[in-house]
């Protein structure tokens, strides 16, 4: 009894004795650390993007973004990110549909959910190696497809599924898309499966009672509820592809001109011939990523209202 009455009051007196400002000391180490190793480096890039080589203020570095070379790498990055987030997003949505509303067999559901948690965090160099071993020139699937040959009536051997004879090449945008999908679609499953699970069966029954077809239910009921989560998840996939570097570097050795690759080349050897222009390129990427993530968080909060059960 005495304890519960006493404790808050002792605490209050202690807080008073320490003075109001001392309580800020508790989070000082965090702020000092973040200031030194997060804010300072970011701010430094930001400032550098607005300076010329003698340290004077300028906007010329951003004009450099319109340079053909830089613009192209931004365009390729955007293209890869849009394609992988849409392809990975759609695929992930279908898989999430299958394991929630679609009632796929229970064992499939648990495997897919577990693997989504693992694969969504998988990337970098090993991912590139995995795809090279599977679909590279001597990869496992490449070999299987190449061996599916037949001899036609004229005696000419024909291998219709030989991937590399038919224009496929892993070390290109196609390969990059395939590799990114490996972490993109599980990420979609993780985000969208809870939203699909929150679709109440009463809504479907109500729609059916009113004479709606399956397609009408999806178009008029389910998708309007799901679209903020879908859009938010796609934005997140977009950002994760846009910022990805290691997989692309290990897969293509830097031969695809992505914005991240351009920044890496700028760090290694100042390919732009002006360090400050490099900061502007980097700064532009942060702006794009921040917009995506901020919008994602906003949409997540909007969705949270519908997802409450």
């Amino acid at each position: 009894m005495a304890g519960s009455a006493l404790a808050p009051s002792t605490e209050r007196t202690r807080a008073l004795r320490l003075g109001a400002w001392t309580k800020w000391l508790g989070i000082a180490p965090f702020f000092v650390f973040v200031l030194a190793f997060e804010i300072l480096p970011s701010l430094n890039l930001f400032v550098g993007a607005f300076q010329d080589q003698d340290g004077r203020f300028t906007l010329a570095n951003f004009l450099g973004l319109l340079d053909h070379f830089v613009l192209k790498s931004y365009m390729v990055s955007l293209q890869v990110s849009v394609i992988t987030s849409v392809v990975g997003g759609l695929f992930g949505f279908m898989v999430a549909y299958a394991i929630t509303v679609g009632q796929a067999p229970r064992w499939m559901r648990s495997i897919l959910m577990t693997f989504s948690g693992l694969a969504a965090n998988f990337g970098g160099v090993p991912l590139a190696f995995a795809f090279i071993a599977t679909l590279g020139h001597t990869g496992f699937l490449t070999a299987i497809f190449r061996s599916l040959c037949f001899t036609n009536s004229a005696g000419v051997q024909n291998c219709p599924l030989d991937l590399y004879q038919n224009g496929f090449n892993l070390y290109t945008l196609t390969g990059l898309t395939l590799s990114y999908t490996y972490f993109q679609f599980p990420l979609m499953v993780l985000i969208i499966a809870p939203a699909l699970e929150s679709l109440r069966s009463e809504w479907r029954e109500a729609a059916e009672n009113l004479g709606a077809s399956g397609a009408q239910y999806w178009r008029d009921v389910a998708l309007p509820v799901l679209w903020p989560s879908l859009l938010g998840a796609t934005l997140l996939l977009f950002a994760s592809a846009f910022g990805a570097f290691a997989t692309a570097e290990a897969l293509t050795g830097g031969s695809i001109p992505l914005a991240t690759i351009l920044v890496s080349q700028q760090i290694r050897g100042d390919v732009l011939g002006n360090p400050n222009e490099g900061y502007a390129v980097a700064f532009g990427m942060v702006v794009i990523m921040s917009l995506c993530i901020a919008l994602y968080i906003f949409l997540q909060q909007r969705t949270a209202r519908w997802l409450k059960r």
Binding site: Y97, F140, F245, A250, I293
Partner: protein, 265 residues
């Protein structure tokens, strides 16, 4: 109405999903075992494991991983505790700061680190030790979204105020409360954050590569340039290690609804 009918449409997509997961895994395993023509062998694994450079880079990354975990815990545990107990008003600001690493591509981040700490007045990259300090600090920042979130979710599930008041009324000071009361109650959350942090550090390429230290990521990339079968063996080992860490994490946090993570690469 449709309860006992098999939904073939759903079944098809689930099967496609499973194929997408397992084919690259199987392909890597198969490839890694075919170094000796005509038969399966562990040759590629033996070569990698016997390579002193591999052992050195693995040791380096593992030590870095442990350092990162310890420093993260030492910084974020008191911070999260204090925010819950005394400073709920700074929570939004802190959350934005902890999510920032997701908005900055790692390659851009390392660019900022080099610009800031590669020259006076904060020159750190002159000596290996200084560079290691910088890399460790960088890893702490990159792991911050995971570690902070893990601890924050863990802290929500315990009654911080009552525990603190109980301990204080028994005469404990702030450090004793943190170490003897809060820490044991958060061990699962902390372990979860530690596992994902460790897995991230082990697989990380960019910081080690661009700050030129012998980490596992740059070693793997170099192997990928020079060899055919060893990278597949490395990828398998990396898969195994990462997935043991993340699998343990899933096991530890099963049932919690806020498990979903943002990822940043």
């Amino acid at each position: 109405m449709t309860t006992h009918k098999v939904n073939w449409w759903a079944f098809l997509w689930a099967v496609l999903g499973l194929f997408y997961f397992f084919l690259p895994l199987y392909g890597t395993l198969d490839f890694s075992l075919r170094m000796i023509r005509g038969r399966l062998s562990l040759q590629a694994y033996q070569i990698v494991l016997a390579d002193p450079q591999f052992l050195e880079s693995f040791r380096y990354s593992a030590v870095m991983g442990v350092i990162t975990v310890v420093v993260s815990a030492a910084i974020f545990l008191p911070t999260v505790y204090w925010i819950h107990l005394r400073l709920p008003q700074v929570r939004p600001a802190v959350e934005v700061l902890t999510l920032l690493p997701f908005m900055i591509p790692v390659i851009v981040y390392v660019f900022g680190l080099i610009r800031t700490f590669g020259r006076p007045p904060f020159l750190l990259t002159l000596t290996p030790l200084g560079t290691d300090v910088l890399i460790a600090a960088g890893y702490v920042i990159l792991a911050m979204p995971y570690m902070y979130r893990a601890l924050d979710i863990g802290m929500r599930s315990i009654d911080v105020r009552t525990l603190t008041e109980a301990a204080q009324s028994l005469g404990a000071n702030v450090f004793q409360v943190l170490v003897n009361v809060i820490l044991p109650n958060l061990r699962i959350a902390l372990l979860g954050g530690a596992l994902i942090t460790f897995a991230m550090v082990i697989g990380e390429l960019v910081l080690g590569d661009f700050l030129v230290r012998p980490a596992l990521g740059p070693y793997m990339e170099q192997m990928g340039r020079d060899h055919a079968y060893e990278p597949a063996a490395l990828a398998m080992m990396s898969y195994a290690l990462t997935w043991v860490c993340l699998g343990l994490l899933q096991f530890l946090t099963r049932g919690s609804s806020s498990q979903q993570q943002l990822t940043g690469r």
